[in-house]
């Protein structure tokens, strides 16, 4: 029962905080409110994850259900969303102190950010693919206002591109959802049950395979647009570059993953009906294409926020290849990759935001000696760059090795292409980022207030600690989540997790 209550708290707290933040009178009150929200989210998430890790799904009413996959998403949303809120307190507080935005807009920013987190937490815990769609659409709407938040020409243009492309994507995903319902009605009747993923998974093998295949194509292209999968990725670099930096971090670390989550829920059902032979080639193909596109564009990118945005496309591609290859190693690799990427990419953006606050521009070549001028930002970016390039001792190295191994066992040529593209992305990312971090400092730029650094540095430290410990050590509860998640995707043997 406590776990159920915790789940309800988890799905209501951000909404409440969002509404309350519109009423906060001062910056200090906002800091207390958001700090409390982070604490509540972490405690509730701990209870939910603890309960699910002991082997039981949490079910509240007919609509809320959290299984291992849902708990995994909740974990990611609460931790990265939590550091994101803390970081945003510093970043937006600095913008407020410098007079770049008024208090009303500062307040509005946190309201929207809370609603955005709320929509994603709902999406991860609703046992209904249509309501999940509504929640994902809700997060798109909040994000649409956040991307254009700075109201410069470039921000409005990026926001408009984001709106048009993600609305097209989300509409296709709804058509796919309707098709699933169309197929499921014949088995489960015209009812809510015909939309519940747990029920659909149960009756999966009896669903009409042709309809489900068609539905999957729509869902993959639709949610894939939101996940930044090439060739539907064109909104992503603009949105990441022009959004306020805390939002860039939240888009890359959370939005892409929640869209992947939606694809995986549907893939799970379609695989029951039509077999993985249908979904695997499409998923692997789009994954490889995303890595290729990202690696090439990273080479020529001159803007460090866009650079990290392309790197996100690459990592979504890597996770997709893992899920497409399947098997215990592929599936575990994919999920582990999602978690580590969320941590590493938010770290990278937190550091990039500090650079932007100091220097007021986004040109990679005009930043050097970051490690000397600002050890927190420099250290964060160094750790993130090493992790994102896929080097040990970070978790992304482990997941990439696992996916390559799995690919090699099934189709050696996929492993070859995959490794080649990874090497290219590795080289282009490091060649761009290392000169920013090392070398002589060109001066520290504008002063960043201590009241800001308090928040930004703690967000960076939490992220770096989580990121580096996952490279060495798998906590017990996480292992207990991964085993059923691997089972969910049809792998019979649980692998030895390091």
């Amino acid at each position: 029962m406590t776990a159920g209550a915790a789940l309800v708290v988890l799905t209501l707290a951000p909404l409440l905080a969002g509404l309350l933040s519109l009423a906060t009178p001062t910056r200090q009150a906002m800091e207390w409110l958001q700090g409390t929200l982070v604490a509540v989210l972490l405690v509730a998430m701990g209870l939910v994850v603890g309960h699910v890790a002991s082997g039981n799904d949490i079910v509240v009413g007919h609509l809320l259900r959290v299984d291992a996959l849902g708990a995994f998403m909740t974990l990611m949303l609460a931790i990265v969303g939590g550091t994101g809120l803390i970081y945003a307190l510093g970043y937006m507080g600095e913008e407020l102190a410098r007079g770049h935005l008024g208090y009303r807009r500062y307040r509005l920013f946190f309201c929207l950010l809370n609603l955005y987190l709320w929509a994603m937490l709902l999406a991860a815990s609703i046992d209904n693919i249509a309501l999940m769609w509504i929640a994902v659409e809700g997060s798109t709407l909040a994000a649409a206002l956040l991307v254009g938040f700075e109201r410069t020409k470039a921000a409005l243009e990026a926001g408009w591109n984001y709106i048009i492309l993600s609305f097209i994507g989300i509409a296709l995903a709804l058509f796919g959802t309707v098709l699933v319902y169309y197929a499921a009605e014949h088995v489960l009747g015209v009812s809510m049950e015909a939309l519940s993923w747990s029920a659909l998974r149960r009756v999966g093998p009896t669903l009409d395979p042709t309809t489900m295949k068609l539905a999957f194509v729509f869902v993959l292209i639709g949610y894939g647009t939101k996940a930044g999968v090439a060739p539907m990725h064109t909104w992503l670099p603009d949105a990441h570059a022009e959004a306020p930096t805390p939002i860039s971090a939240m888009l890359s670390a959370l939005m892409l993953n929640i869209a992947l989550y939606a694809v995986l829920r549907l893939k799970n059902i379609v695989d029951q009906a039509a077999g993985t032979a249908f979904t695997a080639p499409i998923v692997i193909g789009l994954g490889l294409l995303s890595i290729a596109v990202a690696a090439v564009f990273m080479l020529i990118e001159r803007d460090y926020k866009r650079l990290f945005a392309y790197s996100s496309i690459e990592h979504v591609g890597i996770a997709l290849v893992g899920f497409g290859i399947g098997g215990p190693a592929g599936v575990f690799g994919g999920f582990f990759h999602m978690l580590n990427h969320a941590l590493a990419k938010s770290t990278a953006f937190y550091a990039a935001g500090l650079v932007l606050l100091r220097h007021g521009h986004k040109m990679t070549e005009r930043v050097t000696g970051l490690l000397r001028q600002d050890p927190a930002a420099g250290g964060g970016m160094l750790a993130a760059a090493i992790a994102l390039a896929g080097m040990p001792p970070f978790g992304l190295f482990i997941s990439e090795v696992l996916i390559v191994t799995a690919a090699y066992q099934r189709h050696p040529w996929i492993a070859a292409v995959f490794l080649g593209l990874l090497a290219l992305a590795f080289a282009t990312l490091l060649a761009q980022v290392l000169p920013m971090i090392l070398g002589e400092s060109l001066g520290a730029g504008q002063h960043v207030a201590g009241s800001t650094r308090r928040f930004t540095t703690s967000a960076l430290i939490v992220n770096i600690v989580a990121l580096s410990s996952l490279g060495f050590y798998m906590p017990g509860f996480l292992r207990e989540l991964f085993i059923p998640m691997i089972g969910l995707f049809g792998a019979d043997v649980a692998i030895k997790i390091p």
Partner: protein, 227 residues
């Protein structure tokens, strides 16, 4: 679940009525693509929404699934009255009623839309046999409207026409859900309506800000962010 009773009207007549209505939606889609005047596009969208509501009400009447009436009522209220009103206000305020700006001209546009209809019918052909007797062709028509909506979003330059395209997509989706699948559960439909309404508002806000920043809602002027 084909056992749903169709109490008052013979099945083939009911099915023909639904087909005629959903075809009218398709026809209005073509009319929107062929339209030069911006405000007429909005009017045509309102007309299309009325047809959509009539189709939904017919399905509700023929199948006895009453909650579809609610969806039909909301369609009239939101899509035939409120959203067109907002769009008209936007057009007035921005003073853009002059003409629709084209990326692709009207005659080739119509040809492309014709091809999209054929594509929609061939894509859904293998799954049409699953459909309920009442609404066999509706899935294909719905997909055709969705595709034409996307096309409008790409092939027209003004922000308002892009919005109309987006709303056509929504209408197509709703037709798919109602006519082909006998309506999604009520809570789902309410959620979708809410999202559409908020999306409409956000797009309204954006067009306003775009106008302020660029002195134009011609989205072909948005070219600052090229590689």
């Amino acid at each position: 679940m084909t056992g749903n009773a169709m109490p008052m009207v013979p099945a083939d007549l009911g099915s023909q009525l639904v087909n005629v209505c959903s075809m009218m939606l398709l026809v209005t889609s073509f009319a929107i693509v062929a339209q030069r005047r911006l405000s007429a596009c909005v009017d045509l969208f309102a007309v299309q929404s009325v047809f959509l509501a009539v189709t939904a009400a017919l399905v509700a009447f023929l199948t006895g699934i009453h909650h579809i009436y609610v969806a039909a009522g909301l369609t009239i209220l939101i899509k035939a009255i409120i959203i067109p009103m907002i769009l008209k206000k936007v057009i007035e305020r921005l003073n853009v009623q002059r003409e629709v700006a084209f990326v692709i001209n009207i005659p080739p546009s119509l040809l492309i839309c014709g091809a999209l209809v054929i594509l929609a019918f061939s894509v859904t052909e293998p799954v049409a046999s699953l459909g309920f007797l009442l609404t066999k062709d509706s899935l294909a028509v719905a997909l055709a409207i969705v595709l034409i909506g996307f096309f409008t979003m790409i092939a027209r330059k003004k922000a308002v026409t892009q919005v109309v395209g987006f709303l056509m997509v929504e209408n197509g989706l709703f037709l798919g859900a109602t006519a082909a699948a006998y309506g999604m559960p009520l809570i789902v439909e309410l959620g979708v309506f809410f999202d559409v309404l908020v999306a409409g508002l956000i797009i309204g806000i954006y067009t306003h800000r775009l106008q302020d920043a660029f002195d134009s809602v011609d989205v072909s002027k948005l070219t600052g962010l090229k590689e």
